[in-house]
């Protein structure tokens, strides 16, 4: 299963109350984050990593982090979101494997070598389109795509604390959920 993140660049302005005139690239609006160089073009969005907790926009227009306590809460929330994303990936894999246990056998007559008729059996492993497991997989897929884009947007804030939260949450989630998956695959499957 391909575990690569979606690398699509869907730029959405996190602060929807920003008037469009601020998108002009030669604006000199200063961002109060550290690491801003004294170029002519000051970016509205930080384009380099920084560590800070003043006036950090997080995904939605109402979510602004201003204090260290709020940053700690955001760290925990992002950590849990990344962990949940890894768990969702593993859960979808195991659900898919479980629902594909039902194998359909399909026999059809085939002309044989001496003019006899042989029965050829086709084995199809899959899901019907309107079956419940497939609908569940689709819903979980949508949730997974949305959460992966949220994590990408969080990483795009370039805030060092939040980026570390994403990475640590992904690692912890992988550690907790993939361990369980590997052990189950070990004992219950006879041939890999």
């Amino acid at each position: 299963m391909d575990h690569s993140h979606h690398m699509e660049m869907s730029y959405t302005d996190p602060n929807s109350t920003m008037p469009p005139s601020h998108h002009h690239p030669t604006t000199s609006a200063s961002h109060s984050h550290g690491g801003g160089d004294s170029n002519m073009m000051m970016m509205m969005m930080p384009m380099t990593f920084y560590f800070g907790f003043e006036n950090v926009q997080l995904l939605f227009s109402g979510l602004v982090i201003n204090t260290a306590g709020e940053m700690a809460g955001a760290f925990v929330a992002v950590f849990l979101l990344a962990m949940f994303y890894e768990g969702l990936k593993i859960a979808r894999e195991s659900l898919l494997r479980k629902s594909q246990v039902s194998i359909r056998y399909n026999s059809m007559p085939v002309p044989g070598p001496n003019g006899t008729i042989l029965m050829e059996t086709h084995k199809t492993v899959g899901q019907q389109m309107l079956s419940f497991p497939h609908l569940l997989q689709t819903v979980l897929h949508i949730i997974q795509v949305v959460i992966s884009y949220f994590l990408m947007l969080i990483f795009m804030t370039y805030n060092g604390y939040l980026c570390i939260a994403v990475a640590a949450g992904a690692g912890t989630g992988y550690f907790l959920f993939s361990w369980k998956k590997a052990v189950v695959v070990d004992i219950t499957e006879h041939c890999h």
């Binding site: 575990h3 690569s4 993140h5 690398m7 660049m9 730029y11 998108h23 690239p25 690491g35 160089d37 970016m43 509205m44 969005m45 384009m47 380099t48 990593f49 990408m152 990483f155 795009m156 370039y158 980026c163 994403v166 990475a167 640590a168 992904a170 690692g171 912890t172 992988y174 550690f175 993939s178 361990w179 590997a182 052990v183 695959v185 070990d186 004992i187 890999h192």
Partner: protein, 143 residues
């Protein structure tokens, strides 16, 4: 910030100290990003191979422990090799989780580099992914 791909020799990538001014610097940055993409593809394949190796080497001991448990025997003398195997399994899995974190971080770094909207960097990432896939994926089917 320009919202379209541009050809340019100036860019600031990821960190404050990584600011590119000249064609030579841009060429070097494209090379670094290319190698990063090759490394990303390589780590993907490496993780899958590592998992496969671990699963092939360890199932016999874990199934032995499962058999011992179902037989109801108190694993007195058998417990030490089994616990060592479990210890090895935890170490292997912890190492894999670290590799997973590195993979996630490199993936996000590549995404942020592409976000600079510099066409050279983007082409470097695409070429690096192609080269990395070309070099690494045949190793996946080898046992």
């Amino acid at each position: 910030m320009a919202m379209h791909f541009i050809f340019s020799d100036t860019a600031v990538l990821l960190f404050d100290f990584w600011s590119v001014h000249s064609p030579a610097g841009m060429a070097l940055s494209v090379l670094v990003v290319l190698l990063l993409a090759v490394l990303y593809e390589g780590i993907k394949v490496g993780k899958a191979k590592l998992l496969h190796q671990v699963l092939v080497n360890l199932p016999t001991s874990i199934s032995q422990q499962a058999i011992a448990e179902t037989d109801g025997e108190s694993a007195g003398s058998d417990s030490s090799p089994v616990s060592r195997t479990h210890h090895r399994w935890y170490l292997c899995h912890f190492g894999q989780s670290l590799i997973h974190v590195i993979q996630v971080v490199i993936g996000y770094f590549i995404m942020l580099a592409v976000m600079s909207y510099n066409t050279w960097i983007f082409l470097g990432v695409v070429l690096g992914s192609a080269v990395g896939y070309y070099l690494a994926y045949p190793l996946l089917s080898m046992a």
